[in-house]
């Protein structure tokens, strides 16, 4: 029905969309930067893989286990580090991500070390991935438009003012962090069941950077922007194979340009449907 190349493209896109949606909630809406989300992906991937290989759990349950494990670790880490100021928090996340990778390399008996963890059953077909990505989008969309999402945005705009209005800043920041970790774990679990062989290198610092870059490109504060940016970032190199060497180079330059010229990113605070609304409005009110 669909050949393996397109299946690979779709699965990779969907997995990354889930991870980036998590980042988007954390970075775009709560304005917390994390360079450790690849670490959460790794935790999700390995937990899910071990659950289905060692304990023969059904696929869905393994994925849930992976996501929950990432969430629990994020909760514990967040309890320690969420009070740190922006860049300190970012650095502690970065350190955490590297720790996870090194630990998985070191614990050869459990994770297979550098050679990786093999024998994971193939379960993530393109249909599963697509359904998961859509579900993830709906969950994130509902979260952002709920009271919690409003609290996240309030923290993003002005932390002190948010706190003065009775928003428990630490609690909501932690909630956002755990949410992004759960999404990363979910993505990791799906990815493991697609690749069937995972190594710690898959979840290194450049992967975390890629997630942040995608989020920034999409717009800090737009879920549809994040999805769009993920599609661009993932699809371009697939269809321009010659340029795959220049892929990360191009994204690095793109991030610098976006920050310099259009700090709000591809979509800014707007969601995709807003684009049409806005243009209609402009005509009627004369751009007021």
């Amino acid at each position: 029905m669909i050949n393996s190349f397109y299946e690979g493209v779709i699965v990779t896109c969907c997995v990354n969309i889930i991870a980036v949606l998590g980042m988007s909630v954390l970075t775009g809406f709560t304005r917390l930067f994390s360079f450790g989300n690849a670490g959460f992906m790794a935790i999700g991937a390995y937990t899910a893989a071990i659950c289905s290989v060692q304990f023969h759990l059904p696929f869905a349950l393994s994925i849930i286990c992976g996501a929950v494990a990432a969430g629990i670790v994020a909760y514990l880490l967040g309890s320690l580090t969420i009070r740190l100021r922006g860049d300190y928090f970012l650095i502690s996340c970065l350190g955490f991500g590297e720790c996870v990778r090194v630990l998985f390399l070191y614990l050869r008996d459990i994770t297979g070390g550098a050679t990786g963890y093999t024998g994971i059953p193939f379960r993530t077909t393109w249909v599963v991935a697509l359904v998961c990505a859509i579900a993830a989008f709906i969950i994130a969309w509902n979260l952002i438009h709920s009271r919690y999402g409003q609290a996240f945005s309030a923290i993003r705009e002005n932390e002190v003012a948010a706190a003065a209005n009775g928003i428990d800043v630490v609690k909501y920041k932690k909630m956002s962090f755990v949410f992004s970790a759960i999404f990363a774990g979910w993505a990791g679990g799906l990815y493991a069941h697609y690749l069937r062989h995972i190594t710690p290198v898959l979840f290194n610092l450049p992967k975390s950077c890629e997630l942040v870059i995608t989020t920034v490109l999409g717009g800090l504060g737009s879920l549809t922007g994040s999805v769009l940016a993920t599609l661009v970032v993932q699809l371009l190199p697939e269809f321009f194979r010659k340029f795959s060497e220049y892929r990360m180079l191009a994204y690095g330059i793109a991030v610098v340009l976006v920050i310099l010229l259009r700090p709000a990113g591809l979509m800014g605070y707007k969601e995709f449907p807003d684009l049409f609304k806005k243009s209609g409005k402009k005509k009627s009110t004369g751009g007021a």
């Binding site: 300190y88 650095i91 955490f96 090194v102 070191y106 920034v216 990360m248 690095g252 920050i259 310099l260």
Partner: protein, 292 residues
């Protein structure tokens, strides 16, 4: 015992390379209050500039080192002029500086990969003999060279910051940027010069690191270690960064010598998180309230 002393010397030597990078980090942090992620890549590009210069026939190695340092200083200045200054001036949140730095870091790393390939490049060494035997303790000459050069340069740096008029300006801008401007200090000029200094230090670090090991596109990751070092010492404090760097170098070599080299990075990153939790201001950090 002899092995321990040998390990210590190796540790201090790698620590001194970290110190060169970390002091640049600390300088920039003290002025602009952001972590310059691209600093490690400046160090890497400095090493590559030096490597390119050694390719020119009949070029003395000392001259290529100077060229490498100059190259790194220029790249650092370029970053400031092209990116950081604009972001500062258009009133974006401080966080954007860091994202831009991350973008630059990704760009440079992949640029180096595209230009020079991922193969390791070897820099020539200053001395013919690679190790000295002092009472049965084997000491690498490159290690000694690293320690001596770093010591001289760092003492000079501290003198510049603490004794000269320019240093006074730097400290004034670090203390209160807008007040310094009112007092007639051209802060953009001071910041640009600090970036040049930090870049030169990073370039020197890149060259010494390249002599000790090799030159390769991802060697900028040593910037992360320098970053940990400056967190240990207290972000924004140059003496703190130096002490932190030597401490980190010692811890790393002792861990990889006596426990496991695989766990080395785990220990340094755990140390980072631990320091952030227990004493976010670091050993020498000044204002805890602002930073934590």
């Amino acid at each position: 015992m002899k092995i321990l002393i040998q390990q210590m010397i190796t540790g201090i030597s790698i620590g001194s390379v970290y110190a060169l990078i970390a002091s640049g980090y600390a300088l920039v942090y003290s002025l602009l209050d952001f972590s310059n992620w691209a600093h490690g890549e400046v160090c890497m590009l400095g090493a590559y500039c030096c490597f390119m210069a050694t390719m020119i026939p009949k070029m003395p190695f000392a001259v290529s080192c100077v060229l490498g340092i100059a190259g790194a200083a220029l790249i650092s200045l370029f970053n400031e002029k092209i990116a950081y200054r604009r972001i500062r001036n258009n009133g974006s949140p401080n966080m954007f500086l860091m994202i831009a730095a991350m973008g630059l870091s990704t760009t440079y790393q992949n640029l180096a990969n595209v230009i020079w390939g991922s193969k390791f490049k070897q820099l020539p060494r200053f001395f013919k003999t690679s190790t000295l035997n002092i009472n049965g303790i084997f000491v690498g000459t490159t290690d000694l060279l690293c320690i001596v050069i770093s010591l001289i340069v760092l003492v000079l740096l501290l003198l510049i910051i603490n004794r000269t008029r320019f240093g006074l300006h730097v400290r004034a801008v670090a203390c209160a940027g807008s007040t310094a401007r009112i007092m007639g200090i051209r802060i953009d000029q001071v910041i640009a010069l600090v970036f040049v200094m930090a870049g030169a230090l990073a370039g020197l670090a890149g060259i010494t690191y390249g002599m000790k090991y090799n030159v390769y596109p991802t060697m900028g990751n040593v910037g992360l270690k320098a970053f940990i070092a400056s967190v240990i010492g207290g972000l924004g404090s140059v003496p703190g960064a130096i002490v932190g760097a030597v401490l980190l170098g010692l811890i790393e070599t002792v861990v990889s010598g006596y426990i496991s080299s695989g766990l080395r990075d785990l220990i340094s990153f755990s140390l980072l998180i631990l320091i952030l939790l227990i004493r976010p201001a670091g050993l020498f950090g000044v204002d805890v309230q602002e930073k934590a």
